[in-house]
Amino acid sequence: MHWECEWEHGSTRHFTYLLHSSSFIHLFTVLSFLLQTNAIKTSKYNFFTFLPLNLFEQFQRIANAYFLFLLVLQVIPAISSLSWFTTVVPLVLVLTVTAAKDATDDIVSAICNLCMIFFPRVSADLLLLSSSEPLNLVYIETAELDGETNLKVRQALPVTGDLGDDIEKLADFNGEVRCEPPNNRLDRFTGTLTYAGQKYPLDNEKILLRGCTLRNTEWCFGLVLFGGPETKLMQNCGKSTFKRTSIDRLMNVLVLCIFGFLAIMCTILAIGNFFWEMNEGSQFTVFLPRQEGKDAKFSAFLTFWSYVIILNTVVPISLYVSVEIIRLGNSFYIDWDRKMYFARNDTPAEARTTTLNEELGQIKYVFSDKTGTLTQNIMTFNKCSINGKSYGKKHSFLYTVDFSFNPLADPRFMFHDHALVEAVKLENPEVHAFFRLLALCHTVMAEEKTEGELLYQAQSPDEGALVTAARNFGFVFRSRTPESVSIMEMGQQRSYELLAILDFNNVRKRMSVIVRSPEGKLSLYCKGADTIIYERLHQSCSKLMDEFAGEGLRTLALAYKDLDEDYFSQWKQRHHEASTTLDDREDKLDQLYEEIEKDLLLLGATAIEDKLQDGVPHTIEQLSKADVKIWVLTGDKQETAENIGYSCNLLREEMNEVFIISGNSPEDAYALEHSMELEFLRTACMCKAVICCRVTPLQKAQVVELVKKYKQAVTLAIGDGANDVSMIKAAHIGVGISGQEGMQAVLSSDYSFAQFRFLQRLLLVHGRWSYLRMCKFLRYFFYKNFTFTFVHFWYAFFCGFSAQTVYDEWFITLYNLMYTALPVLGMSLFDQDVNDLWSFQHPQLYMPGQLNLYFSKKAFFKCALHSCYSSLVIFFIPYLAMNDTVRDDGKDVADYQSFALLTQTCLMFAVSIQLGFEMAYWTAVNTFFILGSLAMYFAVTFTMYSNGMFLMLPSAFPFIGTARNSLNQPNIWLTILLTSILCVLPVVTYRFLMIQLCPTINDRVIFKVRQAKAAPPPLPRRARIRRTSSRRSGYAFSHAQGYGDLVTSGRFLRRPAVSRSSGFAHTGRTTTGFSPMGRSAGYSPTGRPQNVKVNDVEVTSLQMYRTMDHTL
């Protein structure tokens, strides 16, 4: 076998991994093979490589590397100002926690990967060679690619299809494929297959793209054209970048600032040391000799590094690991949230990324997909206008129409206007023609597995909705053959000869069928976009047309035309010629279609509602109150998108500044190009609502990137299909709608849940809380560490800049890890300013996050100043109180060890009380953590300073007895009290003044909450869902071209009816089989002349008749 594949532009690229004879076995199992090799390896480690690899990775993080460097410094005795364990213990702990988290993440992603390859999904772009189905058809679903859930058909070339599953033949086949280079166009493919000197054109109909799912097909063979990153799906996926939050970036900047600050502090102290050594130190050498040849300069140099070690706590090692833990915890809350659980398909929300939580509280722009995200992707037929009379308009939702007269009715179909049924029963000819058209003019496939149980496979959901509507109103489409369409007209089986399908495409925006009725009448039935149809109406219809326009049903118009037999046969001839020409085939066909589709007679119009998901308008209203800008990016066409915009409250009638841009129109396509992008963005941002339609997946990502780049705002993209993947990846936060069949969007998303309305809870509750908590955490964390560290700085001025620490080394080791870790974690996991109901009640609470108000450089600076004050208090009050003081029995209390104990106790109280002021939500856990940490501080301190510990290791625990001897002194406690009061005083004063003078939105809401405390919390206001006027209901008509060909070629009919008895004569059957039932007893079907042969009726239909007979 020799296959060669060349790209048209890239001349000679040989796909060596293609199917050579030696590897033909791969051909046989091509799908499974690809599943295995194409599976992306996401699991990073195995059991043995974990430790070294993970450590290596962790030390690449700048903070960890810094601590390793510190550790090295500490081993140098001349510099070592702290024992090695002060760094080693935290470092080991941090590394362990991080490693544990990495390990679990790795295991989880490995498991996820297994789930991912579970579906029978094509995982490379294939040229279809042959299949198990007749006519080499393959049924696929492309929900992953374009979000459409209907079945599609792909067909192999006959020349390859004939090879079947004969491996030998397949292996011997010697052909050459020339095709386009890898690109991201999902809807087109061009290439040729050269075999035996003949060229065969290849188009999209012969290609199976990665991401589509095989349905109802036993096996198929394909030739890999593009694999891995070259597949169209991956080309559309955009880059997956490692996402970091803006807080992360700010933190990195701050850490760098802190490094700079640290260097400044150390330099100041080193200079101080230099002068001290010059003056005092040179004399003091009698008591403390210097090492030889080491003068004041060298001492200052060493001091610099010693202070780097001592003051390293300004860049706290536990910062990063604490941040990770907080994010993890807040992610779990999302997983656990019952209010984001969708019971209908048992889907809880899922935080797939655990590192982005606080950014959920800062979203400024939401980019939403339309289909499947805002809408349910379920179309309902709920309005129509026939012959100027409109039905289904009344809002009488009290009862639904009873379709029990029709045994074939779909029970799920609902309609609320009884008048239409009456009109059908009264045999209104226009109404009948209307539904007949709906039953005939489509490309739906029917499957009747059991008697009377029809299953429609529609190419688009709206077409399915129309055919279903016709079915319920008594015009049941039952089956089709290439040449005929069988329908049940009011209980009467009729078969129409299908002469031509004038297929839909995006330019024509209409489709027509030409059929011959059983009576022999030739008719053209046409349905299409209203504007298009109106242009093609007969002059006599203009009056009717006006009525329609007045009615406001500017949706899908239905029209028909009777054809002249001679004209048609002549047209048919030309059609055949045109369809066999090689060049300009499409143009010629279009002209022919144009020619016959004119002078149409209008039948009516329908309104299909693209049903919104529950709560979408309310969610959008809430989010816009929170000043979140929502842009809808959809691949759908403008009219549909616009209508959805209106129905979901995004667009309102009174809005003037609405910007709707269409991606594929020639002028707009340039909007995303470099020179125009700023202009586009400026225009878009001036508008209240932005809808981009007809955008490709990549354009969606470009729009997101554009906003990211120029607006410096946090973006969120939400979508459900593979076409949203690029946008999901591009945005700061990607949200996938889960619980549907497509997994691609979810797999590349950061958060996933089942319903759009959960976005409100994700942002306004979880996001806001996460942001609040993270900011509170950071503010407090920097405060407590700065306060801790600055005390060393002040002490330096009293200890000859000798890098003496103020605290006990054990305290330094345990301060961040044990004494203050849990309270602040508790706050960051439980804190909430107001509960979720109030958060919904006041969406404005979300705005501070967008403006970075809770944590910014300014806030950080304030923290540092506050710390500076606190550290001054914590150092100087004990200093002045203890200096020159003795115990009540005259013994020492001003010694170094007692002073260390006193300052660290003061510090503990000060930071604990400060935390109490930060916390707005004291649960039992928080209280326990704060009191427990203080208790633990004392317990550990007394243990460390106990006789036993000292006798075990005298040099490690030299503080023996200090706690016992100084903490029993009243003046010690009076000092602690004074420092606590002085630390708290300015905080309370400042906050109280701020609340009084310029209360924030939070203060106002909290105040309201307190006022309303007696009353129960407010129920979330159920927004009046404003269904806008009827003319906004849209008709999606999201067909693709080429379906008509399939229908007429007959390749469509996969399984012939059980025993098709050809030539069964079915002439002039009366309608005895259909009896009026129930309330519709007045109904009697028409007996139209039926003298035309109908020889292709399926047995199923007949059997149906017979059973009906028997029941009578």
């Binding site: 439980f830 001003a894 170094y896 030299p958 009076l974 609340i995 009084q996």
Partner: protein, 353 residues
């Protein structure tokens, strides 16, 4: 994320409805309102005022006498003498006289104080071996390297006690004499023991186990610290049990001061005999100082302090004054806050949107 549950059924993956998971834990949400803050402030002002006054009265009831003897009296001679290193071994005594205006009632404590002596230098503080001082034989013979450069003497003999702290031990001694009007001078008896922390004397500092050996025998093979005139086992010639590492003066010196100006307890007035049974009577006193400790190396001063104590300790006015200042500060702030609240925040005026 998300855990795999074994539950089956239509709602298998529904999250638990626990207060913790749904973030509905009962909680107390305090807020800084005028009703809480203002009373709290006034209350704190009162408390601080009360504490300040009480402490001030307490501190005022103590008596303290400080005497800088660096160059005072006849000590200027010794001061000059000690400047020259070559005279280090020569003894030098001097006398300083002073008088007490009012009687020091109750227990009187005698301190020596140093100014500008940095016991808190890192290298200085590290230069000690706690294991040696707790009587570990191994460390007696091979002191910890932390003691550098006072680990061994020139002959390579281990120093006991090793390190810079012990080496620089304060070695002036004082004899306080009361000159009764018309009487002969009376030596003021000082208790020179029981002046350390109990834990230091009994746990932190231990002599090596003697096993029927005398103290000199135990310390055999060790050298005295370079600057010492006597070995560690002869520090107290009067009381053999106060020798070795458990010598009170050594222990007190080894408890390094946090700041360069400090005082250390030298002795407590022994009130067993007249006229000292009720304290230190007013009158003239002299202190005879054996002036050994050089001053110029730390450019500081030496002083003696006599003081009486209360439950609050010695005469330190800082805390009482700080409390009084804080009290007035809080009061001031409280008044300002009250005015602000009255003008802006009363009845939630400021909260209106």
């Amino acid at each position: 994320m998300g855990k795999v549950k074994t539950k089956t059924g239509p709602l298998a993956r529904r999250p638990d409805n626990s207060a913790f998971k749904q973030q509905r834990l009962p909680a107390w949400s305090p807020m800084l309102t005028a009703n809480t803050v203002l009373p709290f402030f006034y209350f704190m002002a009162l408390i601080c005022m009360f504490l300040g006054v009480w402490l001030l009265l307490t501190v005022q009831s103590t008596k303290e006498m400080k005497l800088d003897y660096t160059e005072a009296g006849t000590c200027d001679r010794c001061f000059e003498k000690r400047k020259n290193v070559s005279n280090a071994a020569q003894p030098c005594s001097c006398t300083v006289v002073f008088s007490i205006g009012k009687k020091f009632k109750g227990d009187v404590f005698f301190y020596y104080g140093l100014r500008n002596f940095h016991q808190n230098l890192r290298r200085y503080m590290d230069s000690r071996d706690d294991a040696q001082m707790v009587g570990r034989k191994k460390n007696l013979q091979t002191p910890s390297t932390y003691c550098f450069p006072f680990t061994t003497d020139q002959n390579g003999q281990p120093i006991a006690p090793c390190g810079a702290v012990a080496n620089s031990m304060f070695n002036d001694s004082f004899v306080l004499t009361y000159h009764m009007p018309g009487g002969r001078p009376e030596k003021v008896p000082l208790l020179r023991q029981g002046i350390t922390w109990y834990t230091d004397k009994n746990i932190k500092f231990r002599n090596p186990k003697t096993e029927n050996l005398t103290l000199p025998e135990v310390f055999k093979g060790t050298a005295k610290p370079l600057y010492w005139q006597k070995p560690v086992y002869e520090l107290d010639p009067l009381d053999p049990t106060n020798n070795g590492f458990i010598n009170d003066d050594l222990i007190i010196w080894m408890r390094e001061a946090a700041f360069p100006n400090f005082k250390k307890l030298y002795g407590v007035l022994n009130r067993a005999k007249e006229p000292f049974t009720t304290g230190l009577p007013a009158g003239n006193y002299s202190i005879e100082i054996s002036y050994n400790f050089p001053v110029q190396y730390f450019r500081g001063r030496k002083e003696v302090v006599l003081t009486t104590l209360t439950w609050f300790g010695g005469q330190n006015h800082f805390l009482p004054i700080a409390y009084l200042v804080t009290s007035s500060l809080i009061l001031l702030v409280a008044i300002v806050l009250t005015v602000v609240w009255w003008k802006f925040g009363k009845n939630g005026k400021n909260m209106e949107e």
